[in-house]
Symmetry: C2
Subunit: 616 residues, 2 copies
């Protein structure tokens, strides 16, 4: 499927000699490690700078031979040193075609010097400098018209009072630099000297530290957090990955759901557009993958949903891990492609839905407790385990699990089990994102009197194991519900709608007018015209809005038709449908055998009162 | 989706300390390299034995740190030596939890000694011994009732004459050991002494070498080659990956298409069952992934298609490379899971269809010529490049490209381009496997007189960019074609059938009775009853066989309904459908504006002769 794209494609080629493209990466944590696992396929070899040297996660996976290694191996592929050490940065860059990073807390000055010395640093030091200081980042995006929550710099204690007056309480206080996973953020609930001192203490600051260390953000009534990964090439081509629901617990990313669950396609596209605009606003040298965190907030001006940018990370991001198993090109491969000047890869989903769950070191610190989720995932279809090879500590990011499926509904059973094993309460998830809330087929009807007929469709869905929901939606008595239900069905993950109605049967056609999904119409039998009124009301739709109409009163066939529609993406369902058809054949064969054996007279006798057509 | 499985699941866990599971692999070529790229995610570290030492493809990707490495790195992760060198095999196995292999041409005796010394070798030496000698392999499978082409041992020149008499000419002569990529096979067309001497010469044999070096196979009239990857756990659980079409040129695997193209689901399942039976027949120690090559042959006893086993490789296989991007668990990960005693992973497809194209060193030997295909693939959606990091030689396997999509039809454009750049003539592909032969939607009708109506459906499919085919299939005049067409539609990759018919309109319902696909019925307007006969003939189907019926003569809606059905697996089409609906709204808005501006009198005047309902 096509990915959002804002410009024409670059046209470089893969290196033509083995491992001739050499990429140096500042930081050798799990993000670097996952880059290194994609690099060999693309004929790229990597080296890393990390404070822990050959103990870092990336060291376990970079090749021990190849053009950048000396016979000794390790010392050449892994440079041990802090990420601000100019000499070590220089050592990393020696002989590399590109220097990139897997973390933004690096020495911008050191990178700038490297650039002066002719090293190709992507993203460039100027961009890292903007992003590293979150107040500068906000100023930059504000200047470029990117929608932001209200914010202000806090150079003094007085400015905290001013901000509280301007934005109201509670007020978010945030460190301008060095914050991650919730560290560096605190909430100010009142402006007493004690409360302010306590808040500064939370952030490890004293009053004398103020100046360029702290800024404030107004409190946002946000509906949910959305994250969008964006990749930008050296030539300025920008592509967005699909918008995701990013769910945190204790300020750490725990669960990502894709596409963003219960967020309409229009809002998702808006998120992707704003994310691409923000990254483009960073200008030349904004190269590689960027994680863009957004808030969906209640419109401040009385409108519906407002999309606001929270912050940006200039590298692959935890909320983009799902791309490894759910997208045409993972964020790690696309980062490498972008910084190396290769063509950008496809950012579209290759499945209908995906989820990612982070595996954190258990609070017991026990590795066996920590691994319960990944061990269970090893036996789940379409769950993929990504382990980082790090020592276990409580709360440490140890690995993640990606789950893919054709729809949110099909992810739910595995997701619920993993959430449980990862000790993540479902209450941590927004209510409409919780497992079990994602039917694939909706069975609706104009009146409860239609239920005895429509139950046949439900029974078929049960038989085929297709998740469904049943509701009453009356075109004439609940027109607002009709509209709301129809418009939201697709973004709720529903793939087929079965609608039954009788008489002047408007429900199926009206639903079809307000959804892109296939709508199956069941004409309910009526007492006055035997359902001919229902049939013609449902089937004779105008050009442009189809309803898949079945026989009068035949909701069984509506259920079967819904299953056949799902077959397009579900070979397993197609196999089941073939089995169902074979069973019908065998049932008729058995009847035929009995009739042949008994003769028609005796058979008819045996039928007794049952002697009526079995059809419909 | 569920995978074929023959036994209960194993229940081991991932290792609990970083990289605590150590796997030694005999051979460090591209198969070992691709295993090594999957290992870190599973907390497994690998080492390799290879004759080229640290120049082998695997050496570029095994970590340069971790528990199995000494500070020097390389020497510990890569053992340099031949694959039969007992001391080197022992060095490889030292401290490893499991020793496995990526090639079957290894020292069985050396492996046997390792086993005696307590090393855990998976698959075991006994199994390798059976597979290594292709005549012994045949004998083993024959004993276990696996269907095989006729074969016989050739201990003497006389036995060649006997075999020719028994099986007829031409006769396949095959080396019992050491054959790969077509080397070790030759065709004997006549039994003159010169022809026999020449055939032996082809195989590098002299008459005096006969004894246990050569065997014969009867010539099979085969329709196509199918390959099935099978994974078997230490506890005997066996799972099959989907059957693929394996296409060779010059006896080297060039293209793999999944699911096997134009092979019915029943035959594909039969292939998967035979492949699993064959691997299970190897007994205890048949652990890991096995590549199973099969022939689909014309039934020797006058029947339809016969499935015959060709040969088995005890390792990941070229025909299974597509699993990296198209299946829940790749063959490389599943091989590691199996030999380590971890639970087997999902072998089902995560997409509707996939293709793999091998990249061979160009005949010019020029790396730039060689890389044309992969460079083009870098810009194709859902194409994934896997480069092996080897030096370029004409005909050498340098890498491969996987393409995935929701259907064969969506692969075709990319596949055709890559085939062209890889200098693979489409004539090398069986006719019904060639790109462009895979419509997604079939538009059929009972008579050519229905075409003016049905063309509206075709126009919608064109507008949405959905590949289609159009044909005349008459229920009453071509009943055999009706049956053949309906029964084969799904295995040809068709996902929705639109059928139009008039009067006693049986076509849509009869097609629906013989396919699991959704069938959209278009009642054609008739002169006698205005299409009411057609409508009731199509819509009033009995319970069990649904037809999605649209309004009389409204083929536009049939096309739209087909697109809506495809939406289940195609978010891009859903977006287009929403746009289509928006366009309809805007068209009506424009009309409404004009009507408001002009007033009804003037507007009606302007309509002139066009004043009739715009509906249907």
């Amino acid at each position: 499927m096509p990915s959002s794209s804002s410009s024409s494609s670059s046209s470089s080629s893969l290196p033509t000699t083995p491992n001739s493209l050499k990429v140096g990466c500042v930081g050798g944590g799990q993000l670097g490690r996952m880059m290194a696992l994609e690099a060999p396929r693309l004929n790229i070899s990597m080296r890393f700078l990390d404070p822990t040297g050959s103990d870092c996660p990336a060291a376990q996976v970079v090749g021990c031979s190849g053009p950048t290694s000396t016979p000794g191996g390790v010392s050449d592929r892994i440079v041990k040193g802090t990420l601000c050490d100019e000499d070590k940065l220089r050592e990393l860059g020696m002989g590399c075609d590109v220097v990139t990073m897997e973390i933004e807390h690096v020495g911008v000055e050191g990178l700038r010097k490297l650039e002066e010395e002719g090293v190709n640093v992507q993203p460039c030091s100027r961009v890292i400098g903007i992003i590293q200081d979150k107040f500068v980042q906000k100023e930059h995006f504000a200047k470029h018209g990117i929608p932001l929550p209200p914010y202000t710099n806090l150079p003094t204690i007085e400015s905290i009072h001013d901000a509280a007056l301007q934005f109201g309480l509670p007020l978010m206080l945030k460190s301008r630099k060095g914050a991650y996973d919730g560290r560096g953020n605190t909430v100010l609930k009142e402006t007493t000297p004690q409360a302010i001192a306590s808040a500064l203490d939370d952030l490890g600051l004293k009053e004398s530290d103020l100046g360029d260390t702290l800024y404030a953000e107004g409190w946002i009534k946000f509906q949910c957090e959305v994250a969008v990964m964006v990749v930008r090439s050296t030539t300025g081509e920008t592509r967005a990955y699909p918008a995701t629901s990013a769910i945190q617990t204790d300020s750490i990313c725990r669960v990502v759901l894709v596409p963003a669950r219960n967020v309409s396609a229009a809002i998702r596209h808006q998120c992707e557009q704003i994310a691409m605009r923000a990254i483009n606003a960073l200008g030349d040298g904004a190269t590689g993958v960027f994680g863009v965190e957004l808030f969906l907030a209640e419109g401040r001006h009385g409108g519906g949903t407002e999309v606001l940018l929270n912050e940006v990370a200039p590298r692959p991001h935890n909320t983009g891990h799902y791309t490894q198993d759910a997208c045409g090109t993972s964020q790690f491969e696309n980062h490498l492609r972008a910084v190396c000047g290769l063509p950008l890869g496809d950012t579209g989903l290759i499945c209908g839905a995906a989820a990612m769950v982070n595996v954190l070191g258990a609070s017991s610190g026990d590795i066996n407790d920590t691994m319960q989720g990944v061990n269970a995932a090893m036996s789940m279809p379409r769950a993929v385990v990504h382990w980082y090879g790090k020592g276990c500590r409580p709360g440490r990011k140890m690995g993640h699990i990606n789950i893919t499926a054709d729809s949110h509904a099909e992810i739910d059973a595995s997701l619920a089990e993993i959430l449980d094993l990862e000790r993540i309460s479902v209450d941590a998830l927004p209510e409409d994102c919780r497992p079990g809330k994602s039917p694939l087929v909706a069975v609706i009807m104009g009146s409860q009197s239609d239920l005895p007929t429509m139950q046949d469709a439900v029974n078929i869905l049960k038989e085929f194991g297709v998740p469904y929901e049943v509701d009453i939606v009356s075109a004439h008595r609940t027109p607002e519900k009709l509209m709301q239900y129809s418009r939201s069905a697709a973004s709720r993950g529903i793939q087929v709608i079965i609608a039954g109605a009788g008489g002047a049967a408007h429900l199926p056609g009206m639903v079809a007018a307000m959804t892109p999904l296939p709508v199956v119409g069941v004409p309910i039998k009526t007492s006055t015209l035997n359902g001919q009124d229902s049939l013609l009301s449902i089937v004779q739709m105008p050009r442009g809005v189809p309803v898949a109409t079945v026989a009068i009163g035949n909701a069984t066939n509506a259920g079967l038709l819904a299953v056949r529609c799902l077959c397009a993406s579900r070979p397993d369902l197609r196999d089941k449908m073939e089995e169902y058809q074979l069973n019908m054949k065998e049932a008729v064969d058995a009847t035929s055998e009995k009739l042949l054996a008994e003769g028609s007279d005796k058979y008819l006798e045996g039928m007794g009162n049952k002697n009526k057509s079995v059809n419909v």
